[in-house]
């Protein structure tokens, strides 16, 4: 019998969402971005490149909810997420209406004000005021030939913070509370969707089992149906006495299994903590930076994020395989050939030999392949032509 139980395949168990996201501490991003503008700038660039690669990958999937999924994925860069290996939940990713309405709307806002932004701006204002005062003061003094460069120098050094502030406005960045809510909604809805589907499957199985009962007298089947339906163990018939009623001596195992599956899944999925579509990874001190939901720390999540994106879109590909064979074939051929060439030539530098999963390599190649292309709409799938950019 196929056991339907929540599988958590990863070594670290999944915990309640709220306890895992570290409190949106404002001091750390400020310290890091003042201390090393290079790091903050690096994670800004990574964030925007990831956004672009998600868009590019989504344009080659022909599933209906690809826009919503892409929007949600782009904004979930701020959390260390992994896709569950639970197959039922896995199959319920494309919830087109819901992803668009809830997560899409909630997450598509970009550029929120945070304390890091405000601090940087305040610093810049103070520094430029001082510089102005300093240059004015040194105008009248005698050693004005060399004395007035201080303000200029300091102003130049602080100038890169201004760039970071402007960059934070362009890149999706959200509050930790909003992220939490969105993630909880995502998991709840995935579970609800999977439950609905399994209930449907259970009803279909019930019809399938009940069908022969009208013609033949099959008391064994009837007994099983009652037991499962009511959840009552008393009505379970004695297997020894009823063995002869079935002409084959045994019941159809598939039918009964499918029948049993419905209620059991319902029971399992009452617990939302263990049934999560998107798992927040907690590795203790190892990924403490990853659990800080600030754009400044996006650099630490990027490897995991690329794997997540690849998982999601691979599932979408799987789901649409039957519908759009030609487009999928073309996409697969293109991506495989191009990624192989790119990897051979060593164009994706640096990270590739170090990334342990092969799929990340192919994703990297995808993004490169897309960024070299100019004609975006022609690269989309056959089934759904893309609209040109309206704004």
């Amino acid at each position: 019998m196929q056991m339907v139980s929540p599988q958590v395949s990863s070594p670290s168990a999944s915990y309640p969402v709220s306890s895992l996201i570290r409190k949106h501490s404002h001091t750390r991003p400020v310290i890091v971005s003042v201390g090393s503008p290079a790091l903050a700038a690096y994670s800004l660039v990574l964030t925007s490149l990831n956004t672009r690669s998600v868009y590019c990958r989504a344009s080659r999937v022909s599933h209906g909810s690809r826009a919503a999924v892409a929007a949600a994925l782009i904004s979930l860069q701020q959390l260390p997420l992994e896709l569950t290996q639970n197959e039922r939940l896995f199959a319920s990713i494309p919830i087109s209406d819901w992803w668009r309405q809830e997560i899409g709307d909630r997450l598509s806002r970009r550029g929120s004000w945070s304390l890091a932004t405000a601090t940087s701006i305040v610093c810049i204002i103070i520094v430029s005021t001082f510089a102005l005062v300093d240059s004015l003061a040194s105008l009248g003094s005698l050693d004005s030939f060399g004395g007035s460069y201080e303000g200029h120098v300091v102003g130049t050094a602080w100038l890169c913070l201004l760039c970071l502030v402007v960059g934070w406005m362009w890149v999706p960045g959200l509050d930790s509370g909003e992220l939490k809510t969105a993630l909880r909604l995502a998991n709840q809805q995935a579970v609800r969707r999977a439950t609905k589907e399994s209930r449907k499957a259970g009803e279909a199985a019930k019809r399938f089992i009940n069908l022969p009962r009208e013609g033949l007298v099959n008391r064994r089947m009837q007994g099983v149906g009652n037991r499962v339906n009511l959840g009552d163990a008393r009505q379970e018939p004695d297997p020894n006495s009823d063995l002869g009623a079935n002409p084959n001596g045994r019941e159809d195992p598939n039918g009964v299994d499918r029948f049993v599956e419905g209620p059991r899944i319902l029971q399992d999925q009452m617990d939302p903590e263990t049934n999560q579509l998107l798992i927040l990874k907690d590795l203790g001190s190892l990924n403490r930076d990853e659990r800080r939901p600030s754009v400044t720390f996006n650099y630490s999540r990027t490897l995991r994020y690329l794997a997540l994106v690849d998982d999601v879109f691979r599932t979408l590909d799987k789901l649409t395989r039957g519908r759009d064979v030609v487009g999928l074939l073309r996409n697969c051929l293109m991506s495989e050939v191009v990624s192989r060439i790119l990897i051979r030539r060593g164009l994706p530098l640096g990270l590739l030999p170090l990334c342990p999963r092969r799929k990340m390599c192919s994703l990297r190649a995808h993004s490169l392949q897309c960024s070299t292309r100019r004609s975006w709409p022609s690269f989309s799938s056959v089934g759904q032509p893309l609209q040109p950019r309206s704004s």
């Binding site: 310290i31 890091v32 003042v34 201390g35 090393s36 503008p37 290079a38 790091l39 903050a40 700038a41 690096y42 800004l44 660039v45 925007s48 956004t51 672009r52 868009y55 590019c56 989504a58 344009s59 826009a67 520094v127 001082f130 300093d134 030939f145 060399g146 460069y149 201080e150 303000g151 200029h152 120098v153 300091v154 130049t156 050094a157 602080w158 100038l159 890169c160 760039c163 402007v166 960059g167 362009w170 990874k281 590795l283 190892l286 990924n287 930076d289 650099y299 630490s300 490897l303 990270l351 990334c355 342990p356 999963r357 709409p377 893309l386 609209q387 040109p388 950019r389 309206s390 704004s391």
Partner: protein
């Protein structure tokens, strides 16, 4: 890109000081060079830490490799954070010192750090002030070019190519 941004602004800040008549490194400019360098070092340390964390997370076969890489990752992360803390404090301190002209003493103005015993202080300067204005213009240009390249790149990347259709 991040390197361009950081280097551009830091080099520009340093250049103004270094090329102002008593040529050479001074206390402030040394501070700026250190600031830029440490910033870049922090960036690389963090990236390496991320990669090590990922390796230790995904390896399943050997526990020794796993724990070893985990230790490296955590250590690098902490080191880079404390460096960032010190670096930021250093930048703020340098700015304060510079505005309050606290370091305008003989040792610093004569740029002993780079010239050693042969250092000198300019008491009377009869060169052209125009050259120095030109120098400042060049410095602004360098930092501006760095910032411009970075911002244009970021803007181009953040502009998404098209809207995915809505159904």
């Amino acid at each position: 890109m991040a390197l361009i941004l950081q280097c551009g602004t830091t080099i520009a800040a340093t250049l103004v000081i270094v090329l102002t008549p008593p040529f050479g490194l001074e206390c402030y400019s040394l501070g700026y060079v250190a600031y830029g360098t440490i910033g870049i070092v922090i960036m690389f340390l963090s990236i390496i830490s991320t990669i090590f964390a990922r390796i230790s997370e995904t390896r399943k076969e050997s526990t020794t490799t796993k724990s070893f890489t985990a230790i490296i990752a955590i250590a690098l992360r902490r080191i880079s954070f404390f460096l960032a803390l010190a670096n930021g404090a250093g930048l703020i301190l340098t700015s304060c010192l510079q505005f309050s002209h606290l370091l305008d003493n003989c040792y610093c103005s004569a740029r002993v750090i780079s010239h050693g015993p042969n250092s000198y202080i300019i008491v009377f300067y009869d060169g052209s002030i125009g050259a120095m204005r030109y120098l400042r213009f060049v410095a602004i240009l360098i930092s501006g070019i760095g910032i411009f390249i970075y911002m244009v790149f970021l803007r181009l990347v953040t502009m998404l190519p098209h809207r995915l259709n809505e159904n």
